[in-house]
Structure formats: C-alpha cells, structure tokens
C-alpha cells in the first residue's frame, strides 16, 4: 500500500516534468534482473545519473526487497503479495500488469551496501531533480534529519544548483549535516556561522543537539551562535507582537471608525453602533448565500459584492433611525443613549427572529486564507487584508471629510449649527446623511469582521464598549485620534497579553483608559475650545 502511494506520488511528479520522459530507464531496470551486486551498484549509479524521478519507485522497491523479475521473460516488476502470488506493477509507469504465481517470479537480491548506494542515489535524484519543488523538499528533508552521509551529495547538488532559494536551503542542510561529520574544525566553524545566519527556533535546537558531539574548542562558537539567534528571535517575537497588535488595532479601528463619526463628530452616543456592524456581517452572509445558490463561481468576489450591499443596507437603516428617533433628541446626548440602546435591542431581536440565535457560517474567499512567513514570523492573509482594508477605509473617510463638499457641510454643521444653517446648509439632511455615513461604514466594518469573528446576533455587543473606548481615548471629533487610539490600544493589549494573560490584559487596558481619561478628559487629541460646558 505504502509503496503504491509512494509510486503514485512520484508518478504525479514525473508528469510534472514530462521533458525527461525521453530517456527510458526501463532497460536499465530490467538489467537488474541478472546483475550481481557489483553490476547492480553500477546500474544504480546509471539510473541515478538519468536524473529521472520515475526511477525512484523502482529503487525504493529494490531497497525494500520488493523488486522481482519474471522468469519467463526476465522483465523486472515491483511485486506485491496478493493472495497466493504477487501482483506485478510496472516499475516505471506504476501500472499493475496482473497477477503472477509465486514460483513464476524471483526476488532480486539486495544487501546493506547496495541499500546505502540506493539511498544516496535517491537523495541525489531528488536533490538534483529538475523540479524546483522536489529539490526544495529534498533539502528540507535533509535539514530535518541531517546525516553525514548526505554531505557529498549535497555538495554536488549545491555546485549544480542555480535557484537562489533552493541553494540557500541546501547550504543550510549541508552546514547541519557537516556538524555530525568528521570534517575539519574550521569547516565546522563556518557551518555554525551558516546555521546562525539561518536563525529561527529550529537552528537553536540543531546547535544544541550537535554541541554535545562537537569538539570542545567549538563550544564557544556554538554558544555565541545560540545567543545571537536568541536575540534575533526576541526581535522577531517583538515584531510578531507588534503585528498581532496592529491586527487587533485594525479590528478596533474598523469597529470604531463609524462611531468616530456618529459619536465623535455628531455627538450622538450611538449604542446601536454595534448592531450596524452586525447588520453588515449578516449582509455578507446573505450575499454569500445567494452566490452559493446561484453563481458559485463568483464566491471569491462575494466580499467585494457584499461591501456596497452592506454599506447601503446599514446606511439605509441608519437613515431611518436618524429620521425616526435621533433627530428629536439633539442636544440631549444622554437620552439618545437610551433610545439607541432601545434600537439596538430591537435590531438584535429582529435578526434573531429572522436568522435564529446561532452562529451563521460566513466563508473566507481563497485569497483571504492561508499565510506566508516573513523572517521569523508568520503573517496570515486575512489579517493582512483587514489591516489594509481598515486603513483604506480610514483614508477614504478622511478624504470625504476634508475634500468633498458633503464633508465640508458636515464639519460646518458640527462646528456651528446655526451659522451653517444661515449659510444655506440644510442641516437636518446633513445630520441624516452623516449618521447614515457612519452607520454605512459600520456595516462595511461588519463585512470585514465577519471574516474573523462569529456572525451571531450578539456580534455587535462585543465591539460596542471597545469602540467607545477607542473613540474616547483617541479624542472625540478627531479621526486621527481614532486611528492612533485604535492602533496603540491594540498593540498595548498584545504586549500585555503574554505576561499577564488575555483577560487581565484587557482589564488593565480598561483601567489604564479610565486613568488616562482622568488625566486628559478630552482624549488624546482634544479639540481646542473655550467653552466651559462643552
């Protein structure tokens, strides 16, 4: 079974490199049937020299003692015990050619010295495979289980290698293998340097493992290398923390940025803000459902489609809330708090009645899943996209506020309502659309948050307090404050987490914000003004 799998894998690999199919290795393999040990060794060398991955299953079977030749025609097959006889498999194509009785075939003999030859030939075949991926994998395999026997092979492979990344990996594998060989101390010292430059957690383990067997004169080098790797690792850990912090910060920014408009600019304590985020997430869910049923091919575009949908849906809901409730409550901020809390309860219950109280499954498009390494840290695509997304929303909002005439009206109304009104601005409509804009942006945030959080009717509740903290911390009425507030709270949170734990970290951040508000009651970036009762 295992061999079949193995042969299958290599079969696939050999299809990946069809240009090497011209030199048929079959005659060489068939020659093994009548060869003695010495001749077999030469044949193995010749097989390896073809550089053809298709010979690997045969060689593998040979070293396992599974290679047979048929007495009738002296052709060589991979044999697998089946019933009373053997199932014969073509060694090159991997295709079964039928059953054979036990006495119809003879096993090709193998000894340990041949096995060693085969192993190095196999390493050579993979390390010198024309397929870049196979070479990389082979180098990785050596890295994981280094042995001095592979050393010469690696060196030949390195000499032939042209791809930079593969070559670097091979150099590392060589350095690691070299430590357990009997090469000179100077060479080992150079190898330690190579491993040190390679860095990473594995390198520390390799060096520690190897240090016991090494010449005592190298101990200093090993210790220095480990220390240097560790300090590098600390830097990477720090970078990873900053990254996590920025990622959390961008989530906070997304959640808070709509509130920065409704609360920060308009002064409405919008407790229904979280529900706008939730509505955005549910819009994504509905869009994905429609796409799944009608046009599955468009699934990767579902988020792009959901963005305008979420913006319009939540913007419209926001407009209705403003026209229906909030406009009667301007100038009474504490009462808008109550009314919008009521709105939030109604929205939650509506969603719960329609979709049920359980989590809905929102899928990740392919371009948002997976991750890639950067030095010593891993970066996941969805976090990267969310950071990019929240920053672009921020910039877009900033442009709307500072450059568009709507933004100008908006700022005029918030700064001096009566003056703006007498200049001909229709302040009630500016209020309504500002609120709709803030709600719509919360909806867009919901699209992004649906990718990393559970989409349930309670989604909004978990963000509302954090959002208020961000806006208050950053300074009301200032978008830049919101940006700085969100990112710094995110990073602070992630730096506290490793030492005190997630929950205590969050509590500490809350306490710090409470203390900070005492020091600067108007937040990080306060609007300057002379009003006593602002």
């Amino acid at each position: 079974m295992l061999i079949r799998l193995f042969s299958l894998i290599f079969l696939v690999l050999s299809f990946a490199a069809p240009s090497f199919a011209q030199n048929d290795p079959k005659p060489l393999i068939d020659a093994l049937a009548k060869a003695d040990f010495g001749e077999a060794e030469k044949l193995i060398g010749q097989l390896a020299a073809t550089g053809d991955a298709r010979v690997v299953p045969a060689l593998n079977a040979f070293s396992e003692g599974d290679l047979y030749f048929r007495k009738s025609d002296n052709l060589v097959f991979i044999g697998k015990a089946a019933g009373s006889g053997y199932e014969l498999i073509d060694p090159v194509t991997g295709v079964s050619v039928g059953q054979a009785a036990k006495n119809a075939v003879t096993k090709i003999k193998i000894n340990n010295s041949l096995r060693r030859v085969i192993r190095s030939a196999m390493g050579g075949l993979t390390l010198m495979s024309p397929d870049r991926g196979v070479r990389l994998q082979a180098a990785d395999a050596v890295l994981r289980s280094p042995s001095a026997e592979n050393l010469e092979l690696l060196e030949t492979a390195i000499a032939k290698e042209t791809d930079r990344e593969v070559k670097a990996r091979m150099e590392e594998a060589r350095a690691v293998s070299l430590l357990s060989s009997d090469r000179s101390i100077d060479e080992k010292r150079a190898a330690i340097q190579t491993i040190k430059n390679y860095g990473g957690r594995n390198a520390i383990g390799i060096l520690m493992g190897a240090s016991a067997a090494l010449d005592p004169s190298l101990k200093g080098d090993v210790d220095a290398a480990i220390a240097s790797i560790e300090s590098g690792q600390r830097l990477w850990d720090m970078a990873q923390n900053v990254w996590y912090g920025l990622s959390l910060g961008s989530v906070l920014l997304l959640a808070a940025i709509g509130l920065a408009i409704t609360f920060g600019v308009m002064g409405i304590i919008n407790m229904a803000h979280g529900e706008m985020v939730m509505l955005g997430a549910y819009s994504t869910f509905v869009v994905q459902q429609v796409i799944r049923e009608n046009a599955p091919g468009l699934f990767d575009w579902s988020l792009a489609i959901a963005l305008p949908v979420a913006f319009l849906v939540t913007g419209a809901v926001g407009l209705v809330i403003e026209r229906g409730v909030i406009r009667f409550l301007y100038g009474r901020p504490l009462e808008t708090l109550l009314a919008t809390w009521g709105v939030s309860l109604i929205l939650q219950q509506t969603i719960r009645s329609i979709f049920g109280p359980t989590n809905q499954e929102v899928g990740n498009p392919s371009w948002m899943s997976g991750s890639f390494p950067v030095g010593g840290m891993t970066i996941t695509w969805n976090r990267l996209w969310i950071i990019a997304f929240s920053l672009s929303i921020f910039v877009a909002l900033l442009v709307v506020m500072k450059k568009s005439s709507f933004g100008l009206n908006m700022r005029a109304v918030t700064q001096n309502r009566r003056m703006a009104s007498s200049m001909g601005i229709r302040t009630p409509w500016v209020d309504a659309f500002t609120f709709a804009l803030g709600s719509g942006i919360a909806g867009i945030a919901g699209v992004a948050l649906s990718q990393i959080d559970n989409v349930s009717p309670n989604l909004g509740q978990s963000y509302i307090i954090d959002s208020f903290m961000v806006v208050v911390f950053g300074g009301v009425g200032n978008l830049w404050g919101t940006l700085v507030g969100a990112l710094s709270l995110g990073v602070l949170n992630k730096f506290l987490e490793p030492s005190v734990g997630a929950v205590l970290g969050k509590i500490l951040v809350l306490v710090l914000i409470i203390l900070f508000i005492q020091k600067r009651p108007r937040g990080l970036f306060a609007l300057k003004g002379r009003a006593v009762d602002a």
Partner: protein, 389 residues
C-alpha cells in the same frame, strides 16, 4: 437639627409612598405566612420572592435617581455597586454553608476546594461574621465609588465621558469576576446558600423577613434620599445638575458635592444587591454586565428621573412586564423593551411620575389662573356696580 432634616424629608408624597411600601412589606408576608395555601388571598412564596426582587431593583433605581436625577451624573456602572453588595452578602452566605458543601470542607467554599486552593484568601476573612459582612456591603461599593469619583470628579470628567468610563468600570469588573483566580467563584459565582443568621434561606419565614427588610430598606433609603434632596445641600445638588460651572463659580466645591452623592448612591445600590442575593439564591459575574446597568437607567427614565418615587414605580413596572413577557411571549420581550426605551425618551422625557406631576401642576396653574380670572371678573363687576351706584 437632625429631626428637622428628617421631617423636611417627610413631604406628603414621600409619606404616602413610605406608608404604601411598609403596608406592602407587612401585608404580603402576612398573607404568605398566615393564610392557608388554598385560600384565595394566599400569596405563594415564589411570588413573594419575585416581588422582593423588584423591591431590590427599585432600591437600585432609587440610588441611580439620586445621582442622575438630582446631580446629573448618568452612571452606566451602578450595576457594579449592586453586584459588589451582592457579592459581599454572597460571601457571608458561602461561609455559613460550612461543612455542608459537596466537598464537606469546613472552611473553604466548594469552588475553592474544586480549584485546589489550600487556604482562604485574605479578603474572605471576616465574612463569616454577619456584622462585618453587612459593613462590607456598604464599605466596598462606597469605597469603589469614592476612589472612582475622587479621580473622575476632580479632573472634571463629566457628561458622556463619565457615563462611558463608568461603563468601562463595570465591564472591567465583569471580566475580572469571570476569572477563577479572583477567588469569587469565577463563571458560576456564589450559590447553593443554606443559612442566613441561622435561618434557612429557603424557609417561608426567612423569605418573608427578607421581603419585609427589602420594603423597609427601600423606605428608609427613600426617606434619606428625600431628606438629602430637600435640604440646602439638595438645592446645591440640583444647581450642579443644571449649571455645574455656575455653582463652581459661586464658590461651592462641586467635586465634593458630587462625590458625596455618588458614594451615598453606591452604598444604597450595595444594600439593594445584598438584599437581592438571598432572595434570588445566586450571585454571578453576569450582574456586572453593562447591559444590566443600562436597564437600570431605563427603569429610572420610565418612572421619571428626579422624582425619587418615579424610579421605584418604573423598576417595578418594567420588571413586572419583563417577568410577564419573558414567560408569555419570550420573542417579543426585547422588542417591547427596546420600544419602551424609544417611546419613553421620545414621548415621556419626564417619565410617568414626572408627566403626571407636570399635568397636575399645569391643571393647578390653569385652575389658579381661572380663579384669578374669575376673581378679577367679580372685582370688575363689583367696581361696575359701585360705579353704577
């Protein structure tokens, strides 16, 4: 002077309210204990405990009204003081379980045995003593309010900002009490109570006494609150609410006035929590949830802020409605509550009591104006008659 302070509190409305409360406080337990179970007048124990719970909520709403209605501090963290008072009482009740817990440890409560704690944490000492526990019911919320208010009022954090940081405070406490390491039973809180002062908490008699105590404490706090708001201090308090800066410029120490009221209010909330826990039989971190504190604000708003009696009515009405709706139409409850919030803020900004009072005053004013009109008319007629003579 003290008698003057109290007598001034006993304005007609307050006397009536206290009278009704005390009558309920005596009548309901009496009907529960003295009538046979099949009598039409019998009040089952669970109903009595339910109403006892409402009375505790009413006390909490009264406490909030003192700071919000009269001092303009909208605290979104009053649930925290309530829960702290509840925890203090819960700790006493836990210690009373003694060796009757599941693990039979004479000193450690069950959850500590479960978490492999070896000895009682320092802050649990003394809670086996009722007087100390009752002291803590006042001191812990009061101290938190003092420290929090000290910082907040001195740096002139007010309005929306204050509301939001009080919310942050109760949220932080919520997270903290959820942690098992805190030593307050984590997620599950404190429950499985057996005795209070040697009487079983399940017994009808104990429940009756607890109900009476709730009504009594509510009455006493109502008198105290009324005394405060009707004193000279209370006038300054209203001044702080309406024009804080002006009061400050007149030479009053606004931060001290606010701090005093905030601490008194927090202690009242603590008492409410302490009475709540034995009647409900559990206290868990859920009581710290910011949503709970916001609900308290709604009770107060529905009843009428700044009326003292309004919040009591509001708390009882809203919670009665909640019990009814969640039993009869659980789907609708949040719609009803949400709708209530919106309706009250839009159409009843003064609340039920405030609107009724306003209506009465308007009618009186109308009547007075009409009387005056009539009087003037009469006078005019007299003058005319005199002129004719």
């Amino acid at each position: 002077m003290i008698s003057g302070f109290v007598f001034r509190a006993l304005e007609g409305r307050i006397v009536a309210a206290v009278g009704i409360l005390l009558a309920i406080g005596i009548l309901v337990p009496a009907l529960n204990l003295l009538t046979p179970a099949d009598s039409a007048l019998h009040i089952p124990t669970y109903v009595m405990s339910l109403f006892g719970k409402y009375l505790c909520y009413a006390l909490l709403a009264l406490a909030l009204d003192l700071v919000w209605g009269y001092c303009g501090i909208l605290s979104l963290g009053h649930g925290a003081f309530f829960a702290l008072g509840g925890y203090a009482m819960g700790m006493y009740l836990m210690r009373q379980i003694g060796s009757r817990g599941v693990y039979g440890n004479p000193v450690l409560p069950d959850f500590m045995v479960f978490l492999n704690w070896k000895e009682l944490p320092w802050f649990w000492h003394g809670f086996d003593w009722f007087v100390f526990a009752m002291l803590m019911v006042l001191v812990v919320p009061g101290l938190l309010a003092f420290v929090f208010g000290w910082f907040a009022f001195r740096s002139r954090v007010n309005g929306v900002y204050l509301s939001i940081i009080t919310q942050a405070m109760t949220y932080a406490l919520l997270l903290a009490f959820f942690r098992n390491d805190m030593g307050f039973g984590g997620n599950n809180g404190l429950t499985d109570f057996k005795d209070i002062l040697g009487f079983s908490v399940q017994a009808d008699g104990t429940r009756a006494v607890l109900f009476f105590m709730s009504a009594l404490m509510l009455s006493l706090c109502l008198i105290l609150a009324s005394a405060i708001v009707r004193s000279k201090f209370g006038k300054v308090l209203v001044g702080v609410r309406d024009a804080e800066s002006r009061v400050r410029f007149l030479g009053f120490r606004v931060e001290n006035i606010k701090l005093f009221t905030f601490v008194v209010s927090a202690m009242m909330a603590g008492i409410a929590g302490a009475l709540f826990v034995p009647q409900v039989g559990i206290i868990n971190p859920g009581e710290f949830a910011p949503a709970n504190s916001i609900e308290v604000v709604v009770w107060t708003a529905v009843g009428g802020r700044g009326t003292l009696i309004g919040p009591i009515i509001g708390a009882i009405l809203v919670n009665g409605g909640k019990s009814f709706f969640t039993g009869a139409f659980p789907e609708i409850w949040l719609f009803a509550l949400g709708g209530l919030f919106i309706a009250v803020t839009l159409f009843l900004p003064k609340g039920i009591v405030g609107t009724v009072q306003h209506g009465l005053k308007a009618r009186q004013a109308l009547k007075a104006a009409a009387d005056a009109e009539k009087g003037r008319g009469d006078a005019a007629a007299v003058t005319q008659a005199q002129a004719a003579e």
